[in-house]
């Protein structure tokens, strides 16, 4: 028997680990797969999660079984199709907590709901713990958490020695075509990597669209293209004549984020902080990064990555033109 408290403060008890779990939370399937080390108990997920994560890319290569899971739980991230979920006869449903209206219909028909809340760093760690309780694989959950904590602690030790006054500025830009869109207040803690975001304020506004004049005013040292920005590459910056007067473009310090940043709540996301620190401060901040990546993916998914796969994860092709990328990560 396992009993735990979910993010709503509700105590949930399972006599044995549930065998049919429907997940409405977008990143729950990958977390569940990582901790449970198998996909057998995942009975359903969102259409959206399936299409986005499991039909192409590294997950599709490593975890082909995920693509076969029923995807009728919800279309849009959180609004459940109650009858479709009932038809799966689930033992438990993982759902967001942000609105009682999206949980109440599920409980009304007698389903067991585990609530996850969003979006702080602690919430993200909790997903792993909660999944550990559900699957009865708390050991794996703690091992993964420890791997994260160790990496970040080492990184923190190095970042602490940097001169706080001279930290480089980094702007995450995911669009430069019809509009210039930057991440103003994202979820990634940039301080962990020893950089700062000139666009940050505490409005809570995640994305912000700016005009070119504003970009000139901020003039960041480094520009990062988020992993999800499929159509945007460093080359687009280097080839754009209007952007040529930007410092980061002049110095060719425009980088595409690696694939491990693709799924915001995935267990490997912490690698992003290390990668960014290396970009900003040098290879010392992520020593032997390729081996580390292979190790983490093996721990999480039991996958043995080929060298090409690691390169693909690091977006080495896209970043070939960027300053010192090859030197940094081979």
């Amino acid at each position: 028997e396992s009993s735990f408290v979910d993010h709503r403060g509700k105590t949930i008890t399972f006599a044995k680990p549930p065998e049919r779990v429907v997940m409405i939370v977008r990143s729950a399937p990958i977390i569940y797969r990582a901790i449970d080390a198998k996909a057998d108990n995942i009975a359903g997920m969102n259409k959206d999660s399936l299409v986005r994560y499991f039909t192409k890319g590294i997950y599709a290569e490593m975890l082909p079984e995920m693509a076969k899971i029923n995807a009728s739980a919800a279309q849009d991230g959180f609004v459940p199709n109650v009858e479709a979920i009932l038809a799966q006869k689930p033992d438990a449903v993982i759902q967001w907590t942000h609105d009682e209206k999206i949980i109440e219909p599920l409980e009304r028909v007698g389903l067991t709901v585990v609530g996850w809340q969003c979006c702080t760093e602690q919430d993200r760690l909790d997903y792993l713990t909660l999944t550990g309780y559900m699957t009865g694989r708390n050991d794996r959950a703690q091992a993964i958490l420890k791997a994260q904590a160790d990496t970040l602690k080492t990184l923190d030790g190095k970042v602490a020695k940097l001169d706080v006054a001279a930290l480089p500025t980094v702007l995450h830009i995911d669009k430069v075509a019809d509009q210039i869109q930057v991440i103003a207040n994202g979820s990634q803690n940039l301080a962990l990597s020893g950089v700062s975001n000139p666009a940050a304020d505490n409005t809570g506004e995640w994305w912000r669209t700016i005009d070119f004049e504003q970009l000139l005013v901020w003039n960041p040292d480094i520009i990062i293209i988020p992993a999800y920005a499929d159509d945007l590459n460093p080359k687009d910056f280097f080839d754009n004549p209007v952007l040529a007067s930007l410092k980061a473009v002049k110095e060719k310090r425009v980088y595409k984020q690696p694939v491990f940043a693709r799924t915001p709540d995935a267990p490997e996301i912490f690698l992003t902080s290390e990668w960014l620190a290396a970009i900003a401060h040098g290879a010392d901040f992520a020593p032997d990064f390729k081996a580390q990546i292979a190790g983490i993916y093996e721990l999480l998914y039991g996958a043995k990555l080929t060298d090409d796969q690691v390169k693909a994860i690091l977006e080495s092709d896209s970043n070939a033109a960027a300053n010192k990328y090859a030197e940094l990560f081979g």
Binding site: N81, H98, R108, P264
Partner: protein, 360 residues
């Protein structure tokens, strides 16, 4: 001249009066029968497979308890907790929006008027958005939406009243202006919303859905819609008169301002109630009255009920599609238009000759 009327040929009068009553009666019961049929049909469909027999027994059980219910309790839950409240919500909302749309088109004498024109819809939308943004849920959200919706109609009335007189044109323009204002405010709120949780929540809520309706929601929306629809229906004859224009209405002895107010407030209640419980459901209140007018003419005595029932049938069918056609819930607002458009394009073409408006 009260007694002289007896001298009019009685037979003719009787058939005539009854004849008219019958004409209105023959379409309305047909529609009501259709509505009942669609409701019953709706209970039997859904992603969860249930036989028609099971559903019938489950329904009968409520009226006349069957000794040994042999069905799975989950079935009863599906029928009674998932499908029934949702069906009720669709019927009530479709009815309310169409009645209010028909009344407002008559009041403003403008075919482009819909329940959103008086600012309530986007006002209520903003109220709800604000609530989501602050993190309020459930009945707080509902209250906010409702409060802002009703507030905005008062704002519109205030804006358009110059020295005690309200012109219908200014009123309608004030409505447009206030709507635009709240829509912009909604957009601002969306820009500020957390894109992972709150933005999708706002977007989805605004798009309109009755997917998660429970009996309390149904009760709430009914509490807003039913009395308002009754008030509007009671004014059916006054709306006829108001549709001739304010001057004429005044000359005929109508208490113009009072009638305007009742209709505005009743429409505001309907819209605010709908938005509060189910988000913005557009289009129904604009188009259904035109279809109804094509069926029974411009007389609001027949138009209002026919409009209402037609709206109920329409929204119910649309919601049935929304919940069965794909695995995912498609927001109502989308299907309303997507399915409705081709259908109504044809209907409007066909029936336009007798479309009830004189201006074509």
């Amino acid at each position: 001249m009260p007694n002289s009327s007896a001298e009019a040929p009685a037979g003719k009068v009787r058939t005539g009066w009854l004849g008219r009553k019958l004409a209105s009666v023959s379409i309305l019961p047909a529609l009501i029968t259709l509505l009942v049929a669609v409701v019953l049909y709706s209970v039997t469909i859904g992603r969860y497979d249930l036989s028609v027999r099971d559903v019938t027994y489950i329904l009968i059980d409520n009226v006349h308890p069957l000794v040994a219910p042999y069905w799975d309790p989950v079935h009863e839950v599906v029928v009674e907790q998932v499908r029934l409240p949702r069906i009720m919500a669709a019927v009530i909302i479709g009815f309310g929006l169409s009645v209010s749309g028909a009344a407002l088109q008559g009041l403003f004498r403008n075919p482009l008027v819909d329940p959103g024109i008086i600012g309530v819809t986007s006002g209520a939308g903003f109220g709800g958005t604000l609530a989501i943004l602050i993190g309020w849920q459930g009945y707080l959200l509902l209250a906010m939406a409702f409060f802002f919706g009703i507030g905005s109609v008062f704002l519109v009335k205030l804006l358009s009243t110059v020295r005690g007189r309200t012109s219908m044109l200014t009123l309608v323009l004030a409505g447009v202006v206030i709507s635009a204002f709240f829509s912009a405010a909604i957009s601002i709120a969306k820009l500020l919303a957390d894109p992972f949780q709150k933005l999708p929540a706002i977007t989805y809520w605004l798009m309109g859905s009755i997917a998660s309706s429970n009996y309390l929601d149904v009760l709430l929306v009914a509490a807003a819609v039913v009395p308002s629809a009754i008030a509007i229906y009671l004014l059916r004859f006054q709306i006829n008169i108001m549709s001739l224009g304010e001057e004429k209405a005044r000359a005929l002895g109508t208490r113009v301002v009072l009638v305007q107010w009742i209709i505005l407030v009743a429409s505001a209640l309907i819209s605010a109630g709908v938005v509060a419980t189910s988000g913005i459901i557009g289009w129904v209140g604009l188009v259904i009255p035109h279809v109804a007018r094509a069926l029974v003419g411009a007389d609001h005595q027949r138009l209002l009920p026919v409009s209402g029932v037609l709206g109920a049938i329409y929204l119910l069918m649309v919601d049935n599609l929304a919940r069965t056609v794909t695995t995912a819930e498609i927001p109502l607002g989308i299907i309303t238009a997507l399915i409705g458009v081709p259908v109504f394009a044809v209907i409007l073409r066909r029936l336009h000759a007798k479309g009830g408006w004189s201006s074509d």
